[in-house]
Amino acid sequence: MTTQGVIGELKKIVGADNVLTQKEDMVTYSYDAAVLDPVVPSAAVMPENSEQLGQIVKLCSDNKLPITVRGAGTNLSGGTIPSSRASIVLLTGKLNKILEINEADMYAVVQPGVVTATLAAAVEKKGLFYPPDPGSQAVSTIGGNVAENAGGLRGLKYGVTKDYVMGVSFFDSMGEHVKSGSRTVKCATGYNLAGLMVGSEGTLGILDEITLKLIPLPKARKSMVAVYKTIDEASETVAAIISNRIVPATLELLDNFTIRAVEAYSKAGLPIDAGALLLIEVDGHPGQVAEDGLKVEELCKTLGAVDVKVAADDIERDKIWAARRSALSALAKLKPTLVLEDATVPRSKIPAMVKALQEIAIKYKIEIGTFGHAGDGNLHPTILTDKRNKEEWHRVESAIEEIFDRALALGGTLSGEHGTGLAKAPFLAKETGLSSIIFSRRLRKALDPNGILNPGKITGII
């Protein structure tokens, strides 16, 4: 069938209103949040239920038409950029129902288009907690979070999306419905396909239901901000807190560049001369929170903090986290193009990685603001540039490659939470070796012989 023929069939499945084909609409599905070239697809289709979703996959399978699934399109590695002009974008915007929140067994079953923050708020109303909180949680979808193995601020103590996926069901490249995992805490049947689907970026199957683990909401929490003259002292404190067997819920770092950007933007009264800030929150049982809080405060002071401010109430707590939340916004306002990297190292190597980033900024004469999840080794070196300046852009590309090299040399990874997508696919072999890529390609080839599931992502062209 021609592409036009397939589009006609798509309209029969979901109704004409849910199929977009005009060029203007296609242009709006040609990009995501990654700084990459756009690719305009042939059509975008918005199924309203699982049945329609399955029929769409089967139709595309029969006609060898590639599919790229798109939730909120906030991807930072290009995973939602269409593969070619002859492909369709599958929108999960109307598959946005929370199907079940089970308080007794502490799990939730959701459709892939449910917005992360919507789910988090719904379970919190019942005294439960869904911890993964990627920066884009106000718009990002659970389907996208699973497909990218999204992280967030609470990774250190609570883990990331993969730690909460109990089960999934999905359509494979032939349109067959596949189920894996269970609503039980333990499940030892079959391959762990749910695990395989996490981080697969739409290349192995298309999710239609996800079962997520929930945990009790912590009873108490305490936040503090520690001010350092040098970023080295701050990063040493991070290592010391962990080696003292304290696991804060969040342990975030802001470097001087970021502090000044946030202060210029929010006028929150941050110390602009500080080399770095650590923002720390401990949570759990009230007794333990009090004890851990005191210990962390002491450690900060011992390791050179010139000031430690503990939030006395929720208002002060919100002020502390507002500074962190506005970091990306504040940096984004400085230059037209912002490249948000997420090369990650073992947490003990944070001081070395911070030093490497400072050297790279000087070497390539570029501006890098560094903030992020110091507690889990996942920093966000944020490069500020203007892509229209070709000469500078070239230096930025070289700097990114060196950030990758330095992180790998420290035993780290190219991406802590943003995924491989298109942006990191060319560098993947550096981290995993060629045989891992060949293995992954064989896996893909076996499961998707016609190569219709988000071609080009992760493993390159198969």
């Binding site: 005009q22 609409d25 709006t28 399109g73 906030t74 917005v115 990306l328």
Partner: protein, 433 residues
């Protein structure tokens, strides 16, 4: 289409503002339209990408982009929430002007904006006549909102419940007022705005009475017209600039400390768009526009911050008065950061303020959006009416007469017995007691 290159060139003036968008997509979380349709072309990021594409010659004609660009409430929720600080409303308005100039305005819009709206005297006369004839086609609903609906099925009115035009518009009934500052020590000019003039002259009278009560010198010149937003939203720069210049002249005849309006949209237009969009013919007039913009204030803000109305402890904690809920107009909260002051006035009036869910979510009015996309506008408005009803209030107050029109329609559709008013009406009632 011929001239697409030229259009691309004209859009170059927006380039520096367009590159600010980093495509993060956070606008999806607050866009009232995207919330309903889930389509990328309905949210700011998609529209900005389309303008970018138009500037890069990606399209063979501008109509598709134009249609999508106009499907927007201009509520500014996206801009208020944008991590990179993209000035979305200003970009969209400038783009609409560029596209309107390129394509030419429709004959109907030309007639309405250039022959009627931009000539205040003609406009007032025409609407006055229309007001006299409205009862032939419409009948009163007899409800708390005081709306009317069509007598017979009519494509003009649809199933709208609209507020009828007043028999005596404010501008024609109110004489020229020019009084010196009294005990407050300040003098304010009052920009009436069209909706207050034609639908809610009572609010105009309330403002006059409150000013008198607090010893505020008042200046209300005759012959006021429209702030220009309808023309601007349709890309008609000519009519917009004519109206700006007209009012700059009109208000230059007397000295006053502040220009006050009781309409969120007029305030936001004068304060933000007059100074950023008006290009004008000389630097002198631009200076005068900037000066007037900078002393423009919303009425709630003026009374609380310049006349220093404050709350007693008892008023702050009062739980005895009628239950009032407050809807934040986008053009007050998101555009100007005004949200505390109207709440204070409601409490100062003896009302028990009960917050609704999503008080700062757009009501779906969006000016001409309501005319062209009534179904979507109503879908968005019905979320608002449910949130209002859920508070069990007897009155919903809001600082924008356009929101009042929309909310009245939405409540009337559901037969809800809830009054719709401006905070100023509550305050005026309280001081008359």
């Amino acid at each position: 289409m011929a001239g697409m290159k030229e259009l691309a060139n004209r859009l170059k003036e927006l380039e520096e503002q367009l590159v600010v968008c980093i495509r993060c997509g956070m606008c999806q979380s607050v866009c009232p339209l995207f919330d309903r349709t889930r389509k990328e072309a309905d949210v700011a990021r998609g529209k900005l990408a389309l303008l970018d594409g138009l500037g890069k010659n990606l399209f063979t004609d501008p109509d598709g982009v134009n249609t999508r660009l106009n499907r927007c409430l201009l509520c500014g929720s996206c801009a208020a929430n944008c991590p990179s600080g993209v000035n979305v409303v200003e970009i969209f308005i400038k783009a609409r002007a560029i596209l309107a100039e390129f394509k030419g305005l429709s004959p109907a819009k030309k007639l309405i904006f250039q022959k009627m709206l931009s000539n205040p005297e003609t406009f007032d006369q025409l609407t006055k006549w229309a007001g006299k004839f409205q009862n032939i086609f419409t009948k009163k609903d007899k409800n708390a909102q005081g709306t009317s609906c069509a007598r017979v099925v009519s494509p003009l009115f649809g199933d709208r419940h609209f507020l009828p035009m007043s028999d005596t518009p404010f501008r024609s009934s109110s004489p020229l007022i020019n009084t010196p500052a009294g005990k407050s020590g300040v003098k304010a000019a009052f920009f009436t705005g069209c909706i207050i003039d034609k639908l809610f002259p009572r609010i105009g009278q309330d403002v006059v009475d409150i000013f008198e009560f607090h010893g505020v010198g008042t200046y209300i010149p005759k012959g006021q017209g429209c702030c220009g937003i309808p023309a601007l939203a349709s890309g008609d720069m000519k009519s917009f600039e004519k109206l700006v210049e007209y009012h700059i002249e009109l208000f230059s005849q007397e000295h006053f400390d502040y220009l006050v309006t009781a309409c969120a949209t007029c305030t936001s237009t004068i304060k933000k768009l007059w100074s950023s969009i008006y290009k004008g013919s000389g630097s002198k007039i631009r200076e005068r526009v900037k000066e007037l913009s900078s002393k423009t204030l919303d009425i709630n803000q003026f009374l609380v911050n310049k006349v220093n109305i404050s709350l007693s402890q008892a008023e702050d904690n009062a739980e005895s008065g009628d239950i009032v809920t407050y809807h934040d107009p986008c053009h007050l909260k998101k555009s100007l950061g005004v949200f505390k002051e109207p709440r204070l006035l409601i409490k100062a009036s003896g009302g028990t303020l009960v917050e609704m869910e999503g008080s700062d979510k757009c009501c779906g009015m969006g000016g001409s959006f309501n005319l062209y996309h009534y179904e979507l506008s109503s879908e968005i408005g019905q979320i608002k009416s449910k949130n209002i009803a859920d508070t069990n209030c007897s009155t919903v107050a809001t600082g924008c007469p356009a929101c009042m029109v929309q909310i009245s329609d939405m409540l009337a559709k559901k037969n809800l017995n809830i009054k719709v008013c401006h905070p100023i009406e509550l305050y005026a009632k309280a001081i008359r007691k």
